[in-house]
Amino acid sequence: MGTSFGRGGATDFQQDLQNSDCIVIMGSNMAENHPVGFQWVVEARERGAHVFHVDPRFTRTSAMASKWVGIRAGSDIAFLGGIINYILEHECWFDEYVKHYTNAPVLITEDYQDTEDLDGLFSGWDPETHEYDITTWAYKDTEPQTAPGKKSSATRGEQSGHGGHGGGLSHGEPPEEDLSLQDPNCVFQIVKRHYARYTPEFVAETCGCSVEEFLRVAKNLCENSGRDRTSAFVYAVGWTQHTVGVQIIRAAAIIQLLLGNVGRPGGGIVALRGHASIQGSTDLATLFNILPGYLNMPQSAAPPGLDSYIERGTAPAGWWGKLDTYIVSMLKAWWGAAATKENDFCFEYLPKIDEDHSEYWTFTQMLEGKVKGYLIAGENPAVGSANAKLHRAGLAKLDWLVVRDLVETETAAFWYDSPEIETGERKTEEIPTEVFFLPASSHVEKDGSFTNTQRLVQWHYKAVDPKEDCRSDLWFYYHLGRKIREQLKDSQDPKDLPILDLTWNYPTHGEDQEPSAEAVLAEMNGFDSAGQALAGYKLLKADGSTASGCWLYCGVYGGDINMAARKKPHWEQSYTALEWAWAWPMNRRILYNRASADRDGEPWSERKRLVWWDAKQKKWTGVDTPDFDEEKPPDYEPPDDAKGPDAIRGDHPFIMQSDGQGWLYVPQGLLDGPLPTHYEPHESPMRNPLYSQQASPDRQRFDISQDPHNPSADEPDGDAYPYVVTTYRLTEHHTAGGMSRFVPYLSELQPAMFCEVHPDLARERGLVHGEWATIFTARAAIEARVLVTDRVKPIRTNGRVVHQVGLPYHWGSRGLTTGGAANELSHVVLDPNVHIQEVKAFTCDIRPGRRPRGRRLPEFVRERRPR
């Protein structure tokens, strides 16, 4: 979404789904995993909207949908590409929107070659480095911004957390456009050619649904889009956990741009996030490659200095043109008085990255003994991460491990309670790792905020005191920092200066010296040189006179008021409920909402009014906070020397993009291609029906012995593991189980690990409902109870049937209910852009009965591996 629209966040909020005329939930089981938000889907259905659920399984979401379309796991791009083709074939696109709000008219360099020309590769593929040179993807007559020393968009380490800003544009306008959309080199025509083969029949064959089912979705979407109607897409990790996860989302973005659904009420793409504040944690940079607010992490290969950083990261147009104000304010928030213009505001104190430092990469380094110690807080990789065994093997190579969690998870207990200990593959005495378990207090035991799936920052207050030694994470980090600083206080070593110079003076209270969470929020918000809280990021300066921990959150503490703590109920205000908490950026609830009005600033229709230009008051107004320069008129044309936001035209709603437009085609910012293309998953029992290139060429893999792979259909023994397996959640449990398997009221609702299989598969393999089955891959074998159900779709395609096996992934060896972890089975193959594992589609085999015990288990797995 970042590359298509400019920001990675959900474009819409869940309550607004009630305004949709058609909702496609795909790659998410919203009813089960976001039940509270799902009420608005039910509301929309009650108001007459069509709700489709496209999923390999008939779930509780399907039960509520107007129609469930069962597809093969891992075939989403084929389905979505089919919709794109349908839109173009049947001329259903929203012409005015497409011509003016998207990059459809832009001409691409003539050197560009499509996967359709190169049998599954885009131009620029380097088989040596396994990377794309993206120069041939660029807008005509421009040079793309590439990573230092690279031809690709970025290194695997430095994947930009936000929109592909540059596009190599000198200012807000692409060099050449064809508004008639006829030029064969314009984006529109390239897209059209790219998807021409995605016919309904192709979709049916590839996805395993019927032509009618597909057409029903495509038709409904088109009929419910346009001036008077809007459709929404909803996805979550059913899309992201693929080697082509980002590209699946891109395909939806293309559909929504073509249909003109972005930035409008009841439209857009609702990305459902996971953990209660996972959005917040990415906003505030728990990822290795970004700083708070999606600023790029400085790189060691880049020329040093703040100026160079700013120069490389600044977009010629749009709000990324103000990078200098964001980074300088952040540095001021971190190092306060120590940060001066003379010392580049301490820019050099920031760590620099060289390559991938993602979670999976780090564990591979552990295996090689290159990581000495590790601190895990609020994560349970011994269950939750793909190929859990590999993760435990990594942990067993550490010198020390600290786990901060509410309960003693499998990760904390890996040294005495794990499948390897059971089989005798590893012995407790032989593990050198010293493990420290630090009990954490839960969200009800501390003040703080959650940033939810729709960017809404909501404050919560402590309800009860933490028990015994449990302490909040804030307490831990604050006091850890304080102690380190005390130890170093006499140090003259320059490498200690970044720590000593930090502003580390949060007020504390109570017996436990709990730091004030509100003080942290206020720091994130930022203040001016007089110490006054800033009202918004527009006020940030690059001269060091403002400080702000995270520019995106600037405004959350505006006027020294904790806006996140506002709790005016929605029935006392309009449905956008602008006075309930606070959403970044600037309390805007629907992103790019300038697109809800036409070029002249008039709503596209009365029914779909949201934000419009009030000619009398000369400003944008409406029921949402305008996501646009409030005073920039619709007919504004930037002067030639305009920069940053000023270089965006008055009729270009995508203000984070350097051309202000939604990108159907992404010339830069992605590693694996400018357009989504159907590739098979890394492990698949089917041949790619389009190309001899079977899977995404650019998928990220680690060729290590701990992660053997099942052969795919294009390899020898391609039928060794004949079934597609997908993993998912149940309402009753939470992720790796730390917060549900230890709770009796939840455990009793789903008290055992099970697998879901179709009656035909049960017959084929002799599985008996209610009894045990053993599921195995080249990595491992687990056992599960058998739930025979019509709800898992068998895929009939090319005259054969591909069966799917459904596995919830919540179980592990600890807690009140225990069972095999689905992630024993999965492999570590990732999407190259975001390093997310492909756990939504891989292959397996299954047989009746319990798994072998002890030593016989690894033997069982080994013996069944081909070769």
Partner: protein, 302 residues
């Protein structure tokens, strides 16, 4: 429903809602609209949390996603899951149609409540809200209400749990278990505090609607009309009729199939409806026994 009136007349016992006089509140209850239940079980969990109900065993049933199985002493809400090869709407094409019915069951708070009628201790009580509640300090665990309920709602709490449901051996004086019966109180404590019941509060889709029973009935009829207009397959109300065998439920339902599919009785009748007749039979039988015994003496001495 003269039958019922006679019963209350005979007893003169304050088991009627009317007897609250000035303290009587509007009758409160639930309309559970299963057409919008998403089976999240938040109601089950909220109920357990609020009422501090013990865990009920970790038994995986294989009955779809239902591992609660039934209402009982430790489950006052129970969400049923039914997988069917039937279309949700009548006009849905395709033979591979599937639907997954979900429905959150609860005590019906019957207008004429068998459990309350048969309770020998007066532990079961009609509250001022017209609901039916067990007074846990009075219940002696006689268990009579358990088989009396036509819906199988009540059950005795066995703590510690016994291994199976077979009757225990004689004699059992002083057994160490809770022994009392438990069921939904319609959150009597919350009502008194002016709050809606925990389960309704937690329900994300408003499948559980709490309110005055009269108003809920109106709402339910409108809802049914709408679903019928939209061609829903099998929509019907269950327990909304004040003339049915229990005089209407305080907690009634909109179902999408026959009641028995959800484990509900198709035509429940409060057992005490026939009690006057039964007492009459008993009187005759008693008289006959008396006379019969007398007759045994007619033969004279041998």
């Amino acid at each position: 429903m003269s039958d019922f009136a006679t019963l209350t007349d005979i007893t003169g016992h304050p088991d009627g809602w009317e007897t609250y006089d000035a303290d009587q509140q509007p009758r409160m209850g639930f309309f559970t609209d299963t057409s919008i239940c998403i089976g999240c079980k938040a109601c089950e969990v909220a109920c357990k949390e609020w009422n501090v109900i013990p865990e009920d065993g970790l038994v995986w049933t294989g009955d779809s996603y239902d591992n609660t199985s039934e209402l009982g002493a430790n489950s006052w809400r129970h969400v049923a899951f039914i997988e069917q090869r039937k279309p949700l709407r009548q006009d849905d094409e395709g033979d591979d149609a599937l639907r997954w019915l979900m429905s959150s069951d609860v005590c019906k708070h019957c207008t004429h409540a068998a459990c309350l009628d048969v309770c020998p201790t007066g532990s079961l009580l009609r509250t001022e809200y017209g609901t039916v509640v067990v007074q846990e300090d009075i219940c002696n665990g006689c268990g009579y209400c358990v088989p009396a309920c036509p819906f199988g709602v009540l059950d005795k709490r066995h703590l510690p749990r016994k291994p199976d449901d077979e009757p225990l051996a004689l004699p059992l004086l002083g057994k160490k278990e809770d022994g009392r019966v438990w069921k939904c109180t319609l959150c009597y404590d919350r009502l008194k505090g002016g709050h809606e019941p925990a389960c309704a509060k937690a329900c994300p889709t408003d499948s559980i609607q709490f309110g005055e029973v009269d108003e809920l009935r109106d709402r339910a009829h409108k809802r049914l009309d709408k679903l019928e207009q939209n061609g829903w397959n099998g929509a019907r109300l269950y327990g909304d009729d004040p003339d049915d065998g229990v005089g209407g439920f305080g907690a009634f339902f909109l179902l999408l199939d026959e009641p028995e599919v959800y484990g509900l009785p198709p035509d429940p009748v409060v057992t005490t409806k026939h009690l006057p007749e039964m007492w009459k039979t008993t009187a005759f039988a008693a008289a006959a026994t008396l006379v019969g015994t007398a007759v045994a003496f007619l033969g004279g001495r041998e």
